[in-house]
């Protein structure tokens, strides 16, 4: 039985009414309403993923009103009371309202919130629970009181938002303010970790600032929590029934990565502060000389969060609307130049990780990022390719395991990826010969070297439970029950250790 919801029933009734009244106008009118209804349905779906709760409630009300107007118009047409010129006018108005809702949806999909108090672990409800992509950008730890913790986090969060390649992206910028005062007994990292876990962020950007002989060093980290949405960072497939039918799994191994270590001299520090100050100014027009209309980093009073959304863009300039209604233009790239621009590589890299995880192609990795970070991006790219192009995934993994005496960044992650990609590639080759997938059996000669190499990697990085679990599956296929049982035991012990 087909379950027809209220919206769907309304569509059928409206269509029927049109057929009875004006057969000639029917085609155009029916198509027109159908398209409008489709748009309404699409908006409804988008609202469910909207980062800002208050805005989504507002939009839901607008859609509800619009639907009522549509029904009224439809009823008047059906009764023959409506004049055609009035109907045309109302249709144009309706179209304009739909366009307006679409615009509001687009601007609400990219939102950012600064939340001054969050580092004190006074956690409230979860931010943007329905946004498709969520990221936390924390104030950088600043034990030597350089005063750069907030400006760096501010610049990165803005660059992250303005340059994102994905839709429905919510960034929560946790800032501590200038009154840096440790709260409770939690160290910086523990507080970051607590918030990331509590809010279930799939990515977090944080860092530390330390003084050097010539200025400061900024260490920026990207964190992909172990308990983050596993679908994004995990790929898994089952072996054919003839090979036992068990699953092989690959997960992104590097989950807390030093993205960049950047040294700034006193001149660069001043430039960075000035850039943060300039970016915070909202302007009437997309021009550095335009009149200021407000400030981005202004406290809303009482430590409340400040939400802002992108409503338009022109080149590098973006137009923002703040939660208090202030509208203005700003630009990160124009003001953040030189070493400050190098710092923004952290945001570019992070945006790329978010994009790759969403299935988009990888952009070139910025030159200033660390080898570990590069490895993370490539491991994620290979992970995404694993199912459809295992040979390419294996090639990427192989480039990171060139030296058998050295552990590649990310521990045994690449070795695991290589092993699983090779098994998958063998399956793809065999599939062309076998009638059914479940009848495929890869030869022992092909599997044994894969297992031997993976076992070596497991010894070099013995804490990787995925590797050991895959070994258990492959030992099982080879009929080596002693080692399969040992691998299962080790995997169980490792999983039991995870807090």
């Amino acid at each position: 039985m087909i379950n027809i919801g209220p919206t769907c029933r309304w569509l059928i009734l409206a269509g029927a009414a049109l057929i009875l009244t004006t057969p000639i106008a029917l085609a155009g009118m029916a198509v027109s309403l159908q398209r409008q209804f489709d748009r309404l349905m699409d908006f409804q779906r988008q609202i469910e993923r909207l980062p800002i709760y208050r805005k989504s409630e507002e939009l839901k009300k607008q859609i509800s009103d619009l639907r009522r107007s549509l029904v009224e118009l439809d009823e008047r047409q059906a009764s023959g009371r409506a004049r055609p010129d009035i109907v045309a006018l109302e249709r144009r108005e309706l179209q304009a309202k739909l366009d307006d809702i679409q615009r509001q949806l687009q601007e609400a999909q990219k939102a950012i919130v600064s939340f001054h108090e969050a580092l004190s672990a006074r956690l409230q409800g979860r931010f943007f629970p329905d946004a498709r992509h969520r990221l936390a950008a924390f104030t950088f730890d600043d034990p030597h009181s350089t005063g750069l913790g907030d400006p760096i986090s501010f610049l990165l969060s803005k660059k992250l938002l303005f340059s994102t390649r994905v839709a429905s992206f919510a960034i929560v910028n946790y800032r501590q303010g200038t009154d840096h005062e440790p709260s409770g007994n939690l160290a910086y990292f523990d507080r970051v970790d607590a918030i990331v876990k509590d809010q279930k962020f799939p990515q977090a950007v944080w860092g530390r600032i330390s003084r050097t002989e010539h200025g400061v060093r900024i260490d920026s980290f990207l964190q992909v929590p172990g308990d983050a949405n596993k679908d994004i960072y995990t790929r898994s497939f089952h072996l054919p029934g003839a090979m036992g039918g068990e699953a092989l799994t690959v997960r992104l191994k590097s989950d807390r990565v030093l993205v960049q270590s950047l040294d700034l001299d006193t001149q660069a520090i001043a430039m960075l502060r000035a850039a943060a100050d300039q970016v915070a100014i909202l302007r009437e027009q997309p021009s550095a000389s335009a009149r200021p209309t407000g400030r981005l980093d202004g406290d809303t009073g009482g430590g409340e969060s400040q939400v802002h959304s992108i409503i338009d863009s022109r080149g590098d300039w973006v137009q923002l609307r703040l939660s208090d209604g202030t509208v203005g233009w700003t630009n990160v790239d124009q003001f953040c130049i030189g070493v400050c621009r190098t710092l923004l590589d952290v945001a570019d890299f992070t945006n790329d990780i978010v994009a790759i995880a969403s299935g988009l192609s990888a952009a070139p990795v910025p030159r200033s990022v660390t080898r570990e970070a590069r490895a993370m991006a490539e491991q994620l790219s290979a992970l995404v390719l694993l199912v459809d192009n295992p040979t390419k995934a294996a090639t990427i993994a192989q480039t990171w395991i060139g030296d058998p005496n050295a552990v590649a960044p990310g521990g045994a992650g690449f070795a695991n990826l290589l092993a699983v990609a090779r098994v998958k590639a063998e399956l793809v080759r065999a599939k062309t010969r076998e009638r059914s997938f479940d009848e495929i059996r890869i030869s022992r000669q092909a599997i044994e070297p894969i297992v031997t190499r993976l076992a070596d990697a497991s010894v070099a990085d013995p804490s990787d439970a995925n590797v050991v679990q895959n070994l258990a599956v492959l030992f099982g296929y080879l009929g080596d029950n002693r080692r399969r049982d040992l691998a299962l035991q080790i995997a169980a012990d490792l999983r039991a250790k995870v807090p």
Partner: protein, 319 residues
């Protein structure tokens, strides 16, 4: 071996003295406690240290160590004491912290007749590690005429700052994460004694050093040495850290070699506690900090890899 007659006379005299002093009825039978008082770090005898014996807060005997650190104290057990009683021996020396330890007497005789006592140099006792893994940051010898108060505290903070963030990347739990304890009172005569400090203070590593001023430069060159408690390196590893602002020493200014040596010591401590899985995780952090991996790190990795349960997964599968 002392003459029994001498002992009897000595004990009698002590008993009389105590009765006179404290007006307390003492048992007729006296006992003797003997042993050596040594320096906890250098293991050298401590001469002239006073050893006092108490029961329920009451002094019942006292003596002084000779040039070889030996003491021999006669004491009388109060008649009200049970057949098996716990006594307290306190050793005091001007150059060392006092040490208080218990011993048992059964039927008037110490269960263990030899009671050795180790004394920490003044101010060092409180530096003993209370956590599972720790690094003690001792005194840094300043240039002549200069004083850098609290430098060991600031170096400890900067090491913690630099290393614990990196250790977090391999998910070290809070119980395993090392603490970095400043201990300015820990002043080894030579860097070679650093390992003894580490062992005696129950730490994985001891960090110390000296400071040299460069002519006409506001900053200093700090030579940092790292000694480990587990025999990982035979001699302390030294690294010269140039241009350090001593008003604000930072982990960023400390060389990778120093960081690697500290991490190696922590890994060795984990391996000693049969946690080679975590030791390898710590080693992987150390390996990322330098371009050329030091032989002691490679060696420790090899040892640990042979000891993890995963080693049982190696070899060829038989059909």
């Amino acid at each position: 071996m002392a003459e029994p007659r001498f002992i009897w006379l000595f004990a009698e005299a002590a008993g009389i003295l105590l009765v006179t002093l404290f007006g307390t009825a003492l048992a007729a039978a006296d006992s003797i406690l003997a042993g050596t008082v040594t320096d906890a770090i250098s293991h050298q005898p401590v001469a002239g240290a006073e050893v006092r014996i108490e029961y329920s807060g009451q002094l019942v005997g006292a003596g002084t160590t000779d040039i070889d650190g030996l003491y021999r104290v006669s004491f009388a057990i109060p008649p009200a004491a049970p057949p098996v009683a716990t006594m307290v021996a306190t050793a005091l020396s001007g150059s060392h912290d006092a040490n208080r330890s218990n011993f048992q007497v059964r039927d008037g005789t110490p269960v263990e007749t030899v009671h050795n006592i180790a004394l920490f140099p003044s101010g060092v006792t409180d530096c003993r590690s209370l956590t599972g893994h720790s690094v003690i940051v001792g005194h840094f010898l300043p240039p002549v005429g200069r004083d850098f108060a609290e430098l060991s505290r600031r170096i400890a903070e900067s090491l913690e700052f630099a290393l614990n963030t990196r250790l977090q990347t391999v998910h070290l739990t809070l119980e395993i994460l090392p603490s970095f304890e400043p201990c300015d009172a820990a002043r080894p005569r030579t860097p070679k004694f650093g390992a003894s400090f580490a062992k005696a203070l129950r730490a994985d590593a001891f960090v110390g050093g000296n400071i040299a001023a460069a002519d006409g430069q506001p900053n200093f060159t700090v030579t940092i040495y790292v000694s480990d408690a587990h025999g990982l390196f035979r001699d302390p590893t030294m690294a010269s850290n140039k241009s350090i602002d001593l008003d604000n020493p930072s982990g960023a200014a400390v060389t990778g070699e120093t960081h690697v040596a500290v991490l190696g010591s922590i890994a060795a401590g984990l391996a000693e506690k049969n946690d080679c899985v975590t030791a390898i995780a710590v080693l992987s952090v150390a390996e990322r900090l330098v371009k050329v991996i030091p032989p002691y790190i490679a060696e420790l990795r090899k040892t640990c890899e042979a000891r993890v349960p995963n080693a049982g997964l190696l070899g060829r599968s038989m059909p």
